[in-house]
Amino acid sequence: MASHIYTATHAIVLDTFREAFARKIFWGLFGLSTAMVLFFLFIMKIDIVEGAAATISMFGLQSGKEVDAARLVKQVQAGVATFLYTWGMFLAVFASAGLIPSVLEPGRIELLLSKPISRTHLLLGRFLGNLMVVSFNIVYLVAGVWLILAFKTNIWRPEFLISIVSTIFLFSILLSVVTLIGVTLESTALAVMIPAALMVISPILAQHKIMMRLLGSEWSRRMWRGLYEVLPKVYDLGKMTLDFVSDRGVESFTPVYSSAAFGAGVLALAVYIFQRRNF
């Protein structure tokens, strides 16, 4: 029984990778990550002067003044983490949004459901495969940039590696939304638009302290507060990662717990709907 679960899960994950390869999703993400890694490897040159100061040169142009090497590395890493949290996340959602609705196509889903595996297993296997496609690229990009910067400056900052965990964590939450949209509406377009909307709305909702003062009615304040509490805190999680990467203290881990609860709840709802649907 346990070996069947492993064999079937491995097969579903492998199939997701095959589809990601065939749709050029994997290669698209891999290409972008490689471009970034190559940028840090060949284009951006960091020259360490007297052990602690550094100068940067790109395309043969050198920065005029020396900067603190440790601070430079920290800032570059923070920049990469910010890129991952914004454009990287959007690209990952955009690229992988079609991988859930594609298995629900008539003629394909009936065949999968006729196998001796549960619907929950099938959906979560696909979710895992999708997550692994993106995770592979996140690990490759972050670890690649980290190693290049470390070899170039001899500054080894493991704090940057936390962005691997936090980015995968955030993607898993957005992927649960993609999965829910996939099993209910089978729309790739909406599976991109709704997570993107959550990403856009998050920094606005995060200004709740200011908004509590500005909003006139109690009802609208509650509404704002409720949305902020319930929806995934993309902005707060990104800020937490940046704080961590930049050696600033993390104020609270509440955004992690509440976003995890949102992701788990949405994924559970997706599984529940998938179990009840007729195909």
């Binding site: 079937a8 065939a22 003629g107 394909r108 009936e110 065949l111 459901l113 006729s114 549960s118």
Partner: protein, 307 residues
């Protein structure tokens, strides 16, 4: 394990629109029993509910009422499908897969380990006549080839029940013969075969039992032999026959139907019809008509659908 491969009891499916306004009754109290080792054909016009019945058996559609069992296990349990191979109508295999990778994927989902899959895949591709096509992407396959590789997919884990939805759809005559031969050899090895098809000639030639579905209900069920018993000679005589004569004729006849003052007696062999004529003439009974009949499953089908 149950003696029945498939058991449907008062199976009913009502599709409701999202807001619950419009409803469609797709299957209306279907009860069917398919014995293990038999070949069973499910017939019916488009929209009769055949595919919905099959999907309820495979857990793809949830019944509104009634129960379905596979080898005695509730069909809604994933484990009930372990012994089942399925080839859907209008299947859509991902075109990025090769036959080898597609069969490997479905074998793994069916619980086969890697070694068993590696052994089984070339055997199966050879069996369906695609031995040299294993490494070619399915996007390059013709419809007939896809149907054959689909059959290989259904057979990958050596199922004891094969459910086929229009198995020879799009296959050329040579391919059809090949599929029929494969199914015959499976039948001989005791595999139960359940075919959902509109190709009546094929079902008649291949299946032992059939059921005809119309508007979600079983309108006729029996062995092909029974249902096509009309093939032969039909003798029309007055309905009021002496009891002893009626009993004598009934022994030789395959069916007797009294209607509008006349009795229609069906014989499957000429000798039986001749013997009945002799008996009737001996009993001074007038024979109204003697007609050769050529009832096929198609005749039976059309009669049961159109009345």
């Amino acid at each position: 394990m149950s003696e029945l491969a498939i058991e449907m009891n008062s199976l009913r499916k009502v599709y409701r629109s999202f807001w619950g306004g419009r409803t469609v009754l797709a299957v209306d109290g279907v009860t069917l029993r398919v014995e293990r080792g038999t070949t069973y054909g499910l017939l019916g016009p488009n929209g009769a509910g055949k595919t919905t019945c099959v999907k309820m058996l495979l857990g793809a559609v949830h019944p509104t009422a009634g129960t379905a069992h596979l080898f005695g296990r509730d069909a809604s349990e994933a484990e009930a499908r372990r012994l089942v191979g399925y080839l859907p109508e209008n299947h859509r295999f991902p075109t990025y897969l090769t036959a080898n990778s597609m069969l490997d994927f479905h074998g793994a989902l069916s619980g086969m380990d890697a070694r068993a899959r590696k052994r089984r895949i070339p055997e199966l591709l050879e069996l369906v006549g695609l031995g040299r096509w294993g490494g070619v992407r399915l996007g390059k396959y013709s419809k007939g080839m896809l149907q054959r590789v689909g059959l290989a997919q259904a057979l990958i884990h050596e199922p004891r029940l094969l459910i086929l939805d229009e198995p020879s759809d799009g296959v050329d005559p040579v391919g059809r013969k090949q599929i029929r031969d494969i199914l015959h050899s499976l039948e001989e090895s005791g595999v139960t075969i359940f075919v959902n098809s509109h190709l009546l000639g094929e079902v008649e030639a291949f299946c032992r039992d059939v059921a005809i579905l119309d508007k979600g209900k079983v309108v006729l069920e029996g062995t092909v032999k029974e249902l096509t018993a009309g093939k032969g000679y039909r003798l029309t005589v007055p309905a009021a026959l002496p009891d002893n004569l009626r009993a004598e004729i009934a022994r030789a006849a395959s069916s007797m139907t009294a209607k509008d003052g006349v009795m229609e007696v069906q014989f499957s062999a000429r000798s039986e019809a001749n013997r009945a004529i002799d008996l009737l003439r001996g009993g001074q009974i007038e024979i109204e008509a003697l007609t050769p009949t050529t009832s096929t499953l198609e005749d039976v089908f059309m009669r049961s659908i159109h009345g």
